[in-house]
Symmetry: C2
Subunit: 379 residues, 2 copies
């Protein structure tokens, strides 16, 4: 079954769009109102490139919400339940956002650009609207806008060598989540050691959307020596590594304690923040659901189109959010949101997708540890 | 070029999804985080069915934001710049929403269900987040949630006869935008005379997502006598009829005066509402851009993937938002957002899409009047 995506101006094309088409992009999604390639038609090669080589991803759809002005820092602190005491200019920080009832509404990376200018590098929900509403109704003296910024990710074990070739040796000193503004042949950008994989790598935050294809081609040219090829946020690798996929793993009313972000939530912070009372209550009573890793039997599965049902002792107990066949565990694995009382490692599960069913169990996360190699295949 | 859409649990399937697949849905978009069919592979037949017969559309992605509680009506009035003095329970109303700077952020239909319960039936942006932020920060005593409600549209000149067969003669008395709660063989729903076309019709707001395919099949069975077939919000008909497509026709910072919604904006209302001061200023100075109808030369065009450029006297003067070949005008037409000083009817335009260019002019809207028949074709 082929589902074709209709292209039109209601969604935006990424600044890298033409390059991704030339590189053979075959499958897309829409993310933050932007077309985003998710596959180039050869999932095995894309996975291998990420685990063993270096991969180039159009992640322009990871949009920025810029908060600037006198009250910018105060607003940023109010927006997230995370403790930002150690906020440092030039160092990114993962900051879950909640609403006033403690529901998770996005899980951005915060980039402090100065003491009065911040970016939230967001997952797929309209945080621009959210922040504007909070700022205006709360009387914060800030400007909130979406700047012309479009990240391009370079991920995989050979990413560092390539990025050193592009920018110089100083990149080696850039620690995880740190970033620095620079340029590449006149293309303005920010280099960050970050990205949505556990294979290491960088994100280039392009600061001029008109130069997207120029940047892509430059990276591709220099990357040829390392066998670079196109890819996308990798479905299998993220399941193996236990990276949260906002919108896929959580329910619309999930709170951060349910999806493994409890340690990011500082309900004892002295200052006020959105959702504080609700999160305090949830922390006391404990989360209703828990996100867990699973493995299950059967022939190698394809990624699921929709959540599957989990039964424990023949009773519905939650949903499977994502499944795949792991090339490094050589078995079917997945991520499931389970009633907390039944979420212990070792619990046996029955999994149902329509008329198909599988037997499985809850296993520790991450399902595959970073650094685990691909098994050698016989030719 | 085929762009495949990747399906996964980050977006939801509509309650009608399986029925739309069985009916041959070929092209999809993502709208309010839900997969939405936009074509069944035969655009000519889908258009003809809407203009001459009756068409069935999965518009479950038109989600509802429910506002209920003591301050529900006060919040609804605060959210929109439209004057709601004549608010009537049981009668829908088109209510543009703006942010505090007067930017258009959605253009829902408001359904007043009681004096303390309202739905905003929304276009594609996260108004649930927006309303929750405004309600919580503004101290409104309300509950804001997305109920389990999924509209199914029945559109076209034969829609009324079919809906009478389904529900009875009382439907004939239902005036435009009025709605009534009822059921169909145990399926709870709301019937409204509404829908995103100028060909007449109804929307059935299904109130139980588990019964989507049952409802689809029931309508399909009874509709067979009228030659019903699947369709979707129709790209060509909406361009011909001048219906605003939120997100496609406007820019991220467009205000309602720029996109033809000026008469909905009551800046002289005595009570406060979001964006009042900004909209008052914009009304005084006049909108920077104006949405206009255009026609242009050349061979019949396909729908555009992205905005095209408009030149007037060889100078960039705006963008073409949507184009099509009109089967009822028998020429290329479109909708363009033009610098207001140059937006007079009769203005000549040069239109550019990459290396292709067309000559055209600004013409009055609607581009095709409701009731205009399709020309007879020679076999």
């Amino acid at each position: 079954m082929i589902y074709q995506l209709a292209l039109g101006p209601r969604e935006r094309k990424s600044p890298y769009f033409d390059s991704t088409i030339r590189a053979g992009a075959s499958h897309f999604t829409i993310y933050n109102h932007m077309f985003m390639p998710v596959s180039y038609g050869d999932p095995d090669a894309e996975y291998r490139r990420l685990i063993e080589g270096v991969s180039l991803w159009d992640v322009a759809a990871e949009r920025q919400v810029e908060i600037s002005g006198n009250d910018a820092e105060r607003l940023v602190r109010y927006l997230t339940p995370r403790n930002l005491n150690e906020l440092v200019i030039g160092k990114g920080k993962y900051v879950p956002l909640c609403d006033h009832e403690g529901r998770l509404i996005n899980d951005p990376v915060l980039l402090p650009l100065s003491d009065s200018r911040f970016w939230l590098s967001i997952a797929d929900s309209d945080i621009l609207l959210w922040v504007r509403a909070v700022a205006a109704e709360g009387g914060f003296d800030v400007t909130v806008r979406e700047p012309d910024v479009s990240p391009l990710a370079i991920q995989g074990p050979k990413a560092e060598a390539l990025v050193v070739d592009l920018f110089g040796d100083w990149v080696r000193e850039l620690k995880y989540f740190w970033f620095r503004e620079t340029e590449l042949d006149g293309i303005p950008l920010i280099v960050a050691r970050s990205g949505w994989s556990k294979q290491g790598g960088f994100e280039l935050y392009l600061l001029d959307g008109s130069k997207g294809n120029m940047l892509w081609e430059h990276v591709e040219d220099v990357g040829a020596a390392y066998g670079i090829g196109p890819g996308a946020p990798n479905y299998i690798e993220r399941v193996e590594s236990g990276l949260l996929s906002f919108g896929a793993d959580n329910l619309p009313d999930s709170n951060p304690f349910e999806v493994g972000l409890g340690k990011m939530i500082s309900t004892d912070r002295p200052d006020d923040f959105i959702g504080k009372e609700a999160l305090r209550r949830i922390k006391e009573t404990g989360p209703a659901h828990t996100l867990v890793g699973i493995k299950f039997d059967g022939a190698a599965v394809k990624p699921n189109e929709h959540p599957w049902t989990v039964l424990i002792n023949e009773t519905p107990a939650g949903s499977v959010r994502a499944v795949c066949f792991s090339p490094r565990r050589l078995e079917n694995i997945g991520i499931a949101l389970i009633d907390s009382v039944q979420a212990a490692v070792g619990t046996e599960l029955k999994i149902q997708n329509g008329s198909l069913s599988y037997m499985g169990e809850i296993v520790p996360q991450p399902l595959v540890h970073p650094g685990t190699p691909l098994p050698a295949f016989e030719e």
